[in-house]
C-alpha cells in the first residue's frame, strides 16, 4: 500500500448507524442515497423471502431487502420507526439502487479506520462475509456492513 493511500485512509470515514434486532450496525455513508419511511412493496414471485418486493422510487423500480429476514433474525412487525435505507452499489450494469429495511436509523458517526477491528467470528448473528469490521461507538459495539457484498450476494443468490 502506498504512503499516500495509507495517509488518506487515516482520515475518518462516516457511517450511518441503524438498529437491527437490538444491535447497532453501520453503513458507509457514501453508499447511502437516502432514507425513506416504510411503505407497501409489490411482491415479486420466484425470489427469496428476504426480497420483500419492489417499490417505485421516483420512477425507478427498486428492490427492497428485509435485513432481519436476510440475517435470519426474528421477524418484527413493521412500525413507525421502520425505515428503508436506500443504498447504491456498483452492479453489472452501472450502479444499482436497493432498499434495505431496518428497525430504525440512529445517526452518522465518524470512525477512524484505525478504530475498526476485523470482524471476529460471531456465532449466530450476521453472516460473516457481509461484515467489513467492527468498531466501538459510544461504548457500544457497531457492526460495519459491507453493503456491496451484501446486496450483490442477496440479488444474485435468488
Amino acid at each position: 500500500m502506498s504512503k499516500v493511500k495509507a495517509a488518506a485512509e487515516e482520515a475518518k470515514k462516516q457511517y450511518v448507524s441503524f438498529m437491527l434486532a437490538g444491535e447497532q450496525h453501520g453503513v458507509d455513508v457514501v453508499r447511502v442515497q437516502e432514507i425513506k419511511g416504510w411503505d407497501l412493496v409489490t411482491r415479486v414471485p420466484s425470489t427469496p423471502t428476504y426480497v420483500l418486493g419492489v417499490i417505485n422510487l421516483r420512477g425507478a423500480i427498486v428492490p427492497v431487502i428485509d435485513l432481519r429476514i436476510r440475517f435470519r433474525l426474528e421477524r418484527a412487525p413493521y412500525g413507525s420507526t421502520t425505515v428503508v435505507v436506500v443504498v447504491r452499489v456498483p452492479g453489472e450494469r452501472g450502479e444499482r439502487t436497493v432498499g434495505l429495511v431496518v428497525d430504525a436509523v440512529n445517526s452518522v458517526h465518524d470512525i477512524a479506520p484505525s478504530a475498526i477491528r476485523p470482524p471476529p467470528a460471531l456465532p449466530g448473528t450476521v453472516d460473516h462475509a457481509f461484515i467489513e469490521g467492527i468498531a466501538v461507538v459510544g461504548g457500544k459495539l457497531m457492526l460495519l456492513l459491507d453493503v456491496q457484498a451484501l446486496v450483490t450476494a442477496s440479488i444474485e443468490e435468488g
Binding site: T42, V44, P45, N56, I61, V62, P63, V98, G158
Partner: protein
C-alpha cells in the same frame, strides 16, 4: 494525429452526414434508373460533393480522392456532357458501396482504401475515359452549354505557379486542401493556364471562430491556387481592454493571381459564406495595381504547396478561348455547377451542427417539430400548474371547486399529451427500414433473373427506433424469401397466365396499438404438400399429424426448414425463417402467413409500436395485480366445467374451440393465495406465444390500459415469468407478465412432471 474531443465530435458529424449523403446518393441513383430528372442528379451530386469536401477537411484523403472521380462523372451527367447509362449507374452504385466501406474504415480509425474501392475506381476511370455520350435524349439541359461541345479529354493543365512567388500569411505547413488531393481526374476545359487576378473582400462575421473556421487555413488553401497577397484591416479591432479573443474583428482583402475559377474560390469559402460577407472581383491588371504595399503582409510560404489542380467545371471556356469572362457575364446557373455552393444554405456548415452532435452510437436524430411540440406542452403544463398554485392560495370550497376540477382536467390532459410527445421522440418512420429494399430487390432480381416491381406503401408509418432497428433483418429475410421462393421466373409467370413482372409489396400501417408490416408477393404461393412432405422428411412432424392450414404454413418457421430445391446464395439454407420469428417474438410481436396457391402469399408481422409502452390488460390473482400484454391475449373465457379435462393426473387441459390447451395456474407458479383454486370460479386468459397457446387461470380481469414499461433488472435482476414492471397511477408497482417465458417454463415443467410420472 491526436484528435481532441471536440474534433472527434465534429468528425462524428461528418460520419453521420456521410451516411445520410450516401443513402441519398443510393436512393437518387436508383430513381435514375426509372426515368430521371435533373434534380435527382443534382441531389446525388450535392451529396457526393459534401462528402468529398468533408473528407478533405478532416484529412480522409482516400475518401476525398475517390469521391472526386465519382463527382466528376456525376458532374458530366449533370451538365449533359454524358448520358446516364445503366452501366454508369451500376458503377456509381458500387462506388457508393465502396465509399460506405471507406467511411466505415475511417470511422474505425483505420482509414484506407479497400480493394473493392480500387476495382470500382478503375471502372470509374474507364467510364470517364470513354468518349462522352451527351445526354441529348434525356430530360435535362442538353447541349446548349458550351461545355457540352467541349472535347472530353482536355490538354493537361499547364498552370503551375511559381512556388517562390506565393505569398501567404505566416502559418503552419499547408495542409493539403481537398482540391489538391485529387491529382488524376481528367479536368475539363477551363481557362487553363491563364493567370487571373482575383480580388476577394472577406468581411467575416465576428462569430467566425465559433463555427470552427480558420481564416489562416483558408488563405493557405488560396495560396495553393496561385500567388496570394493578403491585406488585413484592423479598424474593427476594439481596444485591448475590450477585446474578446474568441471573436474575429479582422477583415481582409486578398489578391490572388493564378489560373483560378470563381468556383474554386467559392469552394474555399463554402463553409463560411453564410455568416460572412464575401465578394469576388476580377481585377484588370492593366489598370494601376491596388496599393497594398502599405500594410500587406507578404511572406514566403514555409512549405511547398501542392500544385494546384483545377476542379473540373463546366465554365464556358472554349468559346472565349483564353480569357475568363467577366463575372457578371457568367451564364445561367445550370452551366456553373458550383454556383449553388455560393448560395449554400447555412446547414452546409458542419461546425454549426457540431455542438449538438451526439457521439453515442445510439443517438437519435429528432425532427424539430417533435421537440417543438414538447416545448409547447411543457409550457402548457407550467401554466396549468401555476393556475392550480394560484388557486391553492385562496380556496373557497364552494366557488373554487369548479376551478379546481378544470385545472385538474387540464393537468391530466397536458400530462398525457406530454407523455405521448416524449414517447414520440423515439418514433421514426419505417422508411428508414424500407429504404434499403429498392437496392436489395434490384440486385437480387438481377441475380435471380426475375422481373420484379417493388411497391412500398405506408413508408411514413412511425414506430419505435429500437423496434425499427430490430425489424430490419427479419424484413430482409422475408423479402429475400419472397424473391427467391415466392416470385417465379418470367417464363413461369407467363406460363401461369400472369404478367411477367412480379409484384412485391411492402406495406406498413397502424392498427390499434400495433404496427402491421406486410410482405406480399403475387408469386406461386406456398405449396402445402411440399411443406408437409419436407417437414415429414426432416422429422419435424409426425407422419399422421393432423394440421390446419395455418399450422402447415407455420412449419416454415421451424429451425432447419427450407423447401428450396437448390441452396442458392440468396436463401435456402434453412436459417432465416426461424430467426425471423424469434426476432419478432422477442419484440413482443407475432407473424402470420396467408397464401393462395398460384396467387401469392402475404406475411403479416404485427409489432408493438414501441418497447417503452405496452397495451396492457390488468389482471388479479389473489392480492396481486399483474399486467399482461394485450397483443399476446387471444381471448378470455369463463370456463365451462365440461370443457375441463385432466390428463394423467398432472396436466389440466381446457377445450378451447377445437384445441386442448394446457391450463397454467398463475397462483401456483407465483405461489400466491388465490380467491379460489377452482378453475370454474376463475377466468381463463388464452394467450399465445411462438405459435403455442395456453390458458392462464386468473381470479379477475381488471382495466385495460397503456403502461410504461420499466426494467426490473436495472436495479434488481431478470425474474423468470416477468417482462418488467410498471407504475400505477397511485404510485404502486405492478409487474408485467412475460408470456413467452411463462409458456416455455410451464411446458418444461409439465414435460418434466409427465416424464417423472412415466
Amino acid at each position: 494525429m491526436t484528435i481532441d474531443l471536440e474534433m472527434a465530435e465534429i468528425i462524428n458529424v461528418f460520419f453521420q452526414e456521410s451516411d445520410e449523403g450516401l443513402d441519398a446518393m443510393e436512393a437518387g441513383l436508383l430513381s435514375l434508373e426509372d426515368g430521371s430528372d435533373c434534380e435527382a442528379i443534382n441531389t446525388i451530386f450535392r451529396a457526393a460533393h459534401s462528402i468529398k469536401g468533408g473528407a478533405g477537411t478532416f484529412g480522409f484523403g482516400e475518401i476525398s480522392k475517390f469521391t472526386h472521380a465519382v463527382e466528376t462523372l456525376l458532374d458530366q451527367m449533370r451538365n449533359g456532357t454524358r448520358g446516364v447509362s445503366a452501366d454508369a449507374v451500376q458503377v456509381l452504385l458500387q462506388a457508393v458501396d465502396a465509399m460506405r466501406e471507406m467511411v466505415a474504415l475511417a470511422r474505425d480509425g483505420t482509414p484506407g482504401r479497400p480493394a473493392t474501392a480500387d476495382a470500382v475506381g478503375e471502372r470509374l476511370t474507364a467510364i470517364l475515359e470513354e468518349p462522352a455520350n451527351p445526354a441529348s435524349s434525356r430530360g435535362w439541359p442538353p447541349a446548349e452549354t458550351p461545355a457540352a461541345a467541349a472535347p472530353p479529354d482536355p490538354p493537361a493543365l499547364a498552370a503551375s505557379p511559381d512556388p517562390a512567388a506565393i505569398a501567404v500569411v505566416p502559418g503552419p505547413p499547408a495542409r493539403k486542401p481537398a482540391v489538391a488531393a485529387t491529382p488524376e481526374p481528367p479536368a475539363e476545359p477551363t481557362a487553363a493556364g491563364e493567370q487571373t487576378h482575383w480580388r476577394i473582400r472577406f468581411l467575416p462575421h465576428v462569430s467566425l471562430f465559433e463555427t470552427c473556421n480558420d481564416p489562416l487555413r483558408m488563405f493557405t488553401q488560396l495560396a495553393s491556387l496561385g500567388r496570394l497577397q493578403a491585406q488585413a484591416f484592423t479598424q474593427g479591432v476594439p481596444a485591448l481592454s475590450e477585446i474578446d479573443a474568441t471573436q474575429c474583428h479582422l477583415s481582409w482583402t486578398l489578391d490572388l493571381h493564378g489560373a483560378v475559377t470563381r468556383e474554386e474560390l467559392a469552394e474555399i469559402f463554402d463553409w463560411v459564406d453564410s455568416n460572412s460577407s464575401i465578394t469576388y472581383e476580377q481585377v484588370d491588371d492593366s489598370a494601376p495595381p491596388a496599393d497594398v504595399a502599405s500594410c500587406a503582409v507578404e511572406l514566403p510560404v514555409a512549405a511547398p504547396v501542392a500544385p494546384p489542380v483545377i476542379e473540373p467545371c463546366a465554365a464556358p471556356a472554349v468559346g472565349t478561348a483564353g480569357h475568363l469572362p467577366e463575372l457578371p457575364s457568367v451564364p445561367a446557373p445550370d452551366v456553373v455547377p458550383a454556383r449553388s455552393a455560393l448560395t449554400a444554405p447555412p446547414d452546409a456548415s458542419p461546425a454549426s451542427a457540431a455542438p449538438k452532435a451526439n457521439v453515442d452510437a445510439s443517438s437519435i436524430r429528432v425532427g424539430t417539430e417533435k421537440v417543438d411540440a414538447l416545448i409547447n406542452l411543457v409550457g402548457e403544463l407550467v401554466i396549468t400548474q401555476s393556475m392550480l398554485g394560484r388557486f391553492a392560495e385562496g380556496v373557497d370550497a364552494g366557488k373554487d371547486l369548479e376551478l379546481l376540477r378544470r385545472g385538474l382536467a387540464h393537468l391530466a390532459r397536458n400530462t398525457r399529451e406530454l407523455q405521448e410527445s416524449v414517447l414520440k421522440i423515439r418514433m421514426l418512420p419505417i422508411s428508414f427500414s424500407f429504404n434499403r429494399f429498392p437496392r436489395l430487390v434490384r440486385e437480387l432480381s438481377r441475380k435471380l433473373e426475375k422481373k420484379v416491381e417493388l411497391r412500398l406503401r405506408g413508408e411514413s408509418t412511425e414506430l419505435d427506433k429500437i423496434v425499427l432497428e430490430k425489424i430490419g433483418d427479419p424484413l430482409v429475410h422475408l423479402v429475400r424469401n419472397s424473391l427467391d421462393h415466392g416470385l417465379e421466373t418470367p417464363a413461369a409467370r407467363i406460363a401461369a397466365g400472369k404478367s411477367e413482372i412480379g409484384v412485391l409489396e411492402l406495406n406498413a400501417y397502424h392498427q390499434g396499438g400495433s404496427i402491421v408490416i406486410e410482405v406480399k408477393d403475387d408469386g406461386a404461393g406456398l405449396d402445402r404438400a411440399k411443406i408437409l412432405a419436407k417437414a415429414r422428411e426432416r422429422g419435424l412432424i409426425a407422419d399422421d399429424a393432423p394440421l390446419s392450414e395455418e399450422q402447415i404454413y407455420n412449419l416454415i418457421f421451424l429451425p432447419g426448414f427450407s423447401t428450396a430445391e437448390a441452396v442458392s446464395d440468396v436463401s435456402g439454407r434453412g436459417v432465416g425463417m426461424d430467426v425471423v420469428r424469434r426476432n419478432i417474438t422477442d419484440l413482443g410481436g407475432h407473424v402470420q402467413i396467408s397464401s393462395e396457391r398460384g396467387r401469392g402469399s402475404t406475411i403479416r408481422i404485427r409489432l408493438p409500436l414501441t418497447l417503452a409502452i405496452l397495451e396492457g390488460q390488468m389482471l388479479r390473482v389473489g392480492p396481486e395485480t399483474y399486467v399482461i400484454s394485450l397483443v399476446s391475449i387471444i381471448e378470455t373465457v369463463q370456463p365451462q366445467p365440461d370443457h375441463l379435462h385432466t390428463v394423467t393426473g398432472h396436466a389440466e387441459l381446457f377445450k378451447h374451440r377445437d384445441e386442448y390447451l394446457p391450463i397454467l395456474r398463475l397462483h401456483e407458479i407465483f405461489h400466491i393465495e388465490p380467491d379460489s383454486r377452482d378453475i370454474a370460479n376463475g377466468l381463463l386468459v388464452v394467450a399465445e406465444s411462438d405459435g403455442q397457446r395456453v390458458a392462464i387461470l386468473v381470479d379477475e380481469l381488471q382495466a385495460q390500459q397503456q403502461v410504461v414499461i420499466k426494467s426490473l433488472d436495472r436495479n434488481f435482476k431478470q425474474v423468470p415469468g416477468l417482462a418488467g414492471a410498471t407504475i400505477h397511477g397511485d404510485g404502486t408497482v405492478a409487474l408485467i407478465l412475460d408470456v413467452p417465458s411463462l409458456i416455455s417454463r410451464f411446458s418444461a415443467r409439465t414435460t418434466a412432471s409427465v416424464g417423472r410420472a412415466a
